[in-house]
């Protein structure tokens, strides 16, 4: 919104230049964002809060300046000639709650022509296109004192009356912008005896507007119910200077003055005469209740010892009627000026006092606090996973939370949360999986020639439940390219499933559990032979592996891509492993290697279980050292070198007992169908 400082100065003698004025207004909450031009062409670019319609005009800002600089504010008055005869025009208000006041004046024998230079120049300065002297008079008044008004061609109003009513089903109105609108009973209209002639408080009608042919004019200055105007304005997508002010609350007591001011301006330039006095129909009074103000409450909230005289001065300058009270709870009774509909409570007055006094004048203090910091239950687990992921070389990423319908279908079975007004079709669903976002980020890198990428993202997925929404926390991993960074002295090797699994194992190792196993029952977006689920105490806490070649092809991923998902809601059922020191072994360990050939159907887990079932107390580890397929190993079989490590905490092991355990292991592996190689 733009205002002219020169116009503001018409109402108040400001002892500061424009730059200083802009700063002082801003410090008092009437924000001047910038100053364009200089001298009499200077324009303030204003940012006025939605709660301050009273300051969205020159007089309102002048009032603020009078309070800031403690100088007098000149009243606006309209000098009107003597009227002839009676106005003889009826105003009927059928909706007193929605239109408590309607004020009008009748002007006769007006010459419609361009506005005088002074008016046209001022409107031009504010980027308002001058139209003609009558329309400009209403505009000028709006920018001068903030009250929207409307001028009708009186001769085009039928039946000699105005009715404020709801529209009837089937009625139409062509608004000033030339658009024919189908009205509904939700709309509040200004009608003549026959039809609607204006969308109340929003926009006038095309058929009754002022034209060059207009001779006689009806000026309207009404007060409209803010909620009604707001709904109407939204319904028609019509946001006008008038609706902007009415929906925030106009000045109830300014209808007569604004009506007179418009009349004065039209008569000044267009000649003609005033017919009759002002027609002021008050269907319902809008009374603002006085507010009791306690100095102690001012101090309780602001924390400074503002004295009562300063409080009195500030409020009085802003137009509040401040009456000291003797005895009783309150120190003052404050009557609210009609333009301050936003001030309803004591706290509203306290804000007025604070902003005019100056926020920066209040001393900075730090409050004492007796409470304690309460840890988020997940804080430690979150921190552990995050620091491990960073240590493992995954970059922390954040992606947008929206996905497309198509991705939602492909990556999850969850019922979706769909947006009513999405940014785009591709972003119309709240993500049900973190995988599409991760794939997009990997693709983004690959498409820019960056081949080695490791990312993780901690976030939430969303799904519809009953009539609400649930949010589940997850971490996704993405990895593609070399397992180690390219180097001049060691060959690079592409990331494999087992690199990813190693990372997953490292991350899960932090959690307490009885049993952790891995199986291949992953969801469809994964490569069926190169992906796994991590199952902790019977519950799947993670899925990971190579992305399905079809998915990769569809997204044009030009190299193998690995993805992992951690389901934190399930994983966090487990606490972090609590560490207890274990005495270091004092006796030497003994290693024994076993070379076996197994059928492919014997997976390592079976070997592990078979050996585990022997219950050898001194067997400290049993790991694969080498696996080989092809060569002289028959198809469908594989050769594996296994290494057992034996150790006792109590003594040095004897050769014969190690031989005995080894024999048991060989027997167990034979039972599995393995044949020992020489």
């Amino acid at each position: 919104m733009q205002l002219s400082p020169q116009w503001i100065r018409e109402f108040v003698a400001i002892p500061a230049d424009d730059k200083r004025l802009a700063e002082d207004l801003t410090a008092a909450g009437i924000a001047v964002e910038s100053i364009n031009g200089s001298g009499e062409n200077a324009v303030f670019e204003m940012e006025i809060g939605t709660n301050r319609p009273d300051a969205m005009n020159h007089y309102g800002v002048a009032r603020e300046a009078s309070a800031i600089y403690d100088v007098a504010l000149k009243p606006i008055d309209a000098k009107l000639p003597d009227a002839r005869g009676n106005a003889d025009f009826a105003i009927e208000i059928a909706e007193p709650d929605l239109c408590p006041r309607f004020t009008a004046r009748v002007l006769r024998s007006i010459r419609i022509k361009p506005s005088p230079e002074r008016v046209a120049r001022r409107l031009g300065l504010l980027d308002q296109r001058p139209i003609n002297n009558a329309v400009d008079a209403t505009n000028y008044t709006l920018w001068e004192m903030g009250k929207p008004t409307h001028a009708f061609d009186l001769d085009l109003l039928e039946g000699g009356k105005i009715v404020v009513r709801r529209a009837q089903e089937g009625e139409t109105l062509k608004t000033l912008d030339g658009i024919e609108r189908n009205l509904t009973p939700e709309d509040l209209v200004v009608a003549d005896a026959r039809r609607p002639v204006a969308l109340a408080g929003i926009m006038g009608g095309f058929d009754t507007m002022i034209t060059e042919k207009t001779r006689n004019i009806l000026i309207e200055s009404a007060w409209w119910d803010p909620a009604t105007i707001r709904k109407g304005s939204r319904r028609y997508g019509l946001h006008t200077d008038a609706s902007h002010r009415f929906e925030r609350g106009a000045d109830f007591e300014s209808t007569v003055l604004s009506c007179d001011r418009v009349a004065e301006l039209i008569l000044e330039s267009g000649g003609g005469e005033l017919q009759g006095g002002v027609i002021d129909v008050v269907a319902k009074r809008l009374d603002l209740a006085p507010i009791a103000l306690r100095v102690s409450e001012v101090h309780r909230i602001l924390g400074a010892s503002l004295d009562a005289r300063e409080i009195y001065r500030i409020l009085s300058k802003l137009g509040f009627d401040v009456m000291p009270e003797r005895g009783g709870d309150a120190d003052f009774t404050v009557r609210i000026p009609s333009w301050r509909l936003d001030v309803e409570r004591e706290i509203d007055l306290i804000e007025e006092i604070a902003r005019l006094y100056g926020y920066d004048k209040f001393a900075n203090t730090l409050p004492a606090f007796a409470g304690a910091v309460i840890e988020r239950p997940d804080a430690q687990r979150d921190a552990k996973l995050r620091s491990s992921l960073l240590g493992l070389g995954y970059n922390e990423a954040v992606s947008l939370t929206f996905i497309s319908h198509e991705d939602a279908e492909q990556f999850s079975d969850s019922p979706v949360i769909e947006l009513a007004n999405p940014i785009s079709e591709e972003a119309s669903i709240m993500r049900t999986s973190m995988v599409p976002g991760m794939l997009n980020m990997l693709a983004y890198n690959l498409n820019r020639g960056i081949d080695n990428v490791r990312l993780f993202e901690a976030g939430q997925v969303f799904q519809a439940v009953d009539r609400g929404a649930s949010e589940l926390r997850q971490i996704s991993l993405g990895a593609t390219g070399s397992a180690t960074p390219p180097s001049w002295n060691q060959p690079s090797r592409p990331i494999s499933f087992f690199d990813l699994k190693g990372d997953v194992e490292n991350l899960l190792r932090a959690f307490e559990c009885n049993a952790l196993c891995y199986d291949a029952h992953t969801s469809e977006c994964y490569h069926p032979g190169r992906s796994a689920r991590a199952v902790m105490d019977g519950v799947c806490v993670a899925q990971f592996g190579q992305i399905h070649p079809d998915v990769a092809a569809k997204r044009k991923l030009r190299q193998d891509v690995f993805i992992g998902e951690f389901y934190l809601d399930r994983l966090y059922q487990h606490g972090l492993r609590s560490v207890r020191y274990e005495a270091l072994p004092r006796y030497p360990a003994v290693e024994r290697d076993f070379s076996f050939i197994f059928s492919d159907s014997v997976i390592f887990e079976k070997i592990q279980q078979a050996v585990g079932a022997l219950g050898l107390r001194e067997l400290r580890s049993f790991v694969p050292v080498e696996i080989f397929r092809g060569g002289n190993v028959p198809a469908g079989k594989y050769s594996i070198l296994l290494r057992a490590t034996f150790q006792s905490g109590e003594r040095t092991l004897r050769e014969d007992e190690v031989a005995d355990w080894s024999a048991k292991i060989v027997k167990a592996l034979n039972t599995l169908g393995g044949s020992q190689r020489a």
Binding site: I301, L366, P367, E375, G391, V398, L400, V453
Partner: protein, 374 residues
């Protein structure tokens, strides 16, 4: 002529001194000739071998042959000689090995200016990092972390924060709404929270005053993604409620936090603003930490502060009594308690802090960008 251990006839101290000196001189001379490890081995064997080593011979020819009355004196001398020999042999070994390793080390020399094999470290995301930094400043002031859902109801996002239905202030929020909610009462309709402020209400419903919380989290607005807008971003909300919290406390707390975040030399300024859920409301400005408040940087206009020397950091204010009315039953009687709240956009702060010129970089996962923050 190599040294041989003489047989002694005269065991007088003078004769013994003389014999010892000869032996010592021979030891020194032969030691000096030891250059390689094999030299050293012969040297060691000649002097220390059990059979026919010099020490053995000294023992046999001097100590054993000595008359009884001289044994004590000779014994001491032989011990000294033994120590001397052992020490010399040890010293020569160190010398020989040092010499050998000098040449070996030279052969093993590397070009240390070649790049190392770097195991990559993951980088913290600049927005999350900034968020954690801010949270930790408030943690140190006694604030707990609170959280709430991203998909909120109209009640928590608007109504209980004193945005009545049909209030124009709702328009400023550019809300993304969840589809098919029309059949529900307005307050139950779902939307994507437009700020982290709903967690104020959720926390006050659960916990009685006094209260100090910060709420980091994601928020959404209906703003298409471009260089300066994003439909998703991050906020941190703060709330302090107690029996006598004042505007001065709000100012003091935030002044402290800004100095902790941007350096002790920054200045703060508060100017009036409007938010439905605070009153009085304020905007906090910090003296530009990029140009130091001068508005200029190397004579060029400072862009982050638009040459004003000040940067808007956050919105804040005293909690509006209407907000407390919604949780009054849980100990939040606005006549007895008061509080302040603040909320800041983390992404914007990260943009300012790191000089990032395009907010989209935060959400693309481009490792060339992310790795800069390692």
């Amino acid at each position: 002529m190599a040294y041989t251990v003489p047989k002694l006839k005269d065991f007088s101290p003078t004769a013994l001194d003389k014999a010892s000196e000869k032996l010592a001189a021979a030891l020194a001379k032969e030691a000096a000739e030891v250059q390689t490890e094999s030299d050293w081995k012969s040297f060691r064997d000649r002097w220390m071998a059990r059979k026919n080593g010099v020490l053995t011979l000294v023992n046999d020819l001097w100590l054993k042959a000595a008359p009884k009355e001289n044994k004590r004196d000779i014994g001491q001398r032989v011990n000294q000689i033994k120590q001397q020999v052992e020490q010399t042999v040890d010293n020569r070994l160190a010398h020989v090995q040092g010499a050998a390793s000098a040449s070996r080390l030279s052969a093993e020399r590397l070009d240390v200016t070649l790049p190392g094999n770097r195991r990559p470290l993951g980088a913290e995301h600049p927005v999350i990092k900034t968020m954690n930094e801010i949270v930790s400043v408030f943690r140190n002031l006694g604030y707990s972390i609170a959280e709430g859902p991203v998909i909120e109801t109209d009640y928590y996002n608007f109504e209980a924060l004193n945005f009545p239905p049909n209030h124009p202030a709702r328009d400023t929020q550019d809300t993304l709404f969840v589809a098919t909610q029309e059949s529900k009462p307005l307050r139950d309709r779902l939307l994507l929270r437009t700020h982290t402020s709903p967690v104020q209400i959720r926390t006050m419903e659960k916990m009685k005053p006094p209260l100090r919380i910060v709420v980091p989290g994601k928020v959404h607005r209906n703003d298409p993604l471009d260089a300066s807008h994003s439909p998703m971003f991050h906020q941190i909300e703060g709330l302090a409620v107690d029996t006598n919290i004042t505007l001065g406390d709000l100012k003091g707390t935030l002044d402290h936090a800004m100095k902790a975040l941007f350096g002790s030399s920054v200045k703060t300024s508060f100017r009036p603003s409007f938010f439905p859920f605070t009153e009085p409301s304020a905007e906090l400005l910090v003296s530009c930490f990029i140009c130091g408040g001068s508005g200029k940087r190397d004579l060029e206009p400072c862009r982050p502060c638009k040459q004003t020397g000040w940067i808007e950091i956050l919105g804040c204010g005293m909690v509006d009594p209407n907000v407390f009315e919604f949780v009054k039953g849980n100990g939040y009687d606005p006549r007895k308690i008061s509080g302040f709240a603040f909320g800041m956009g983390v992404d914007r702060l990260a943009i300012l802090k790191y000089g990032v010129d395009d907010i989209q970089l935060f959400f693309q996962g481009d490792v060339r960008f992310l790795e800069q923050f390692v």
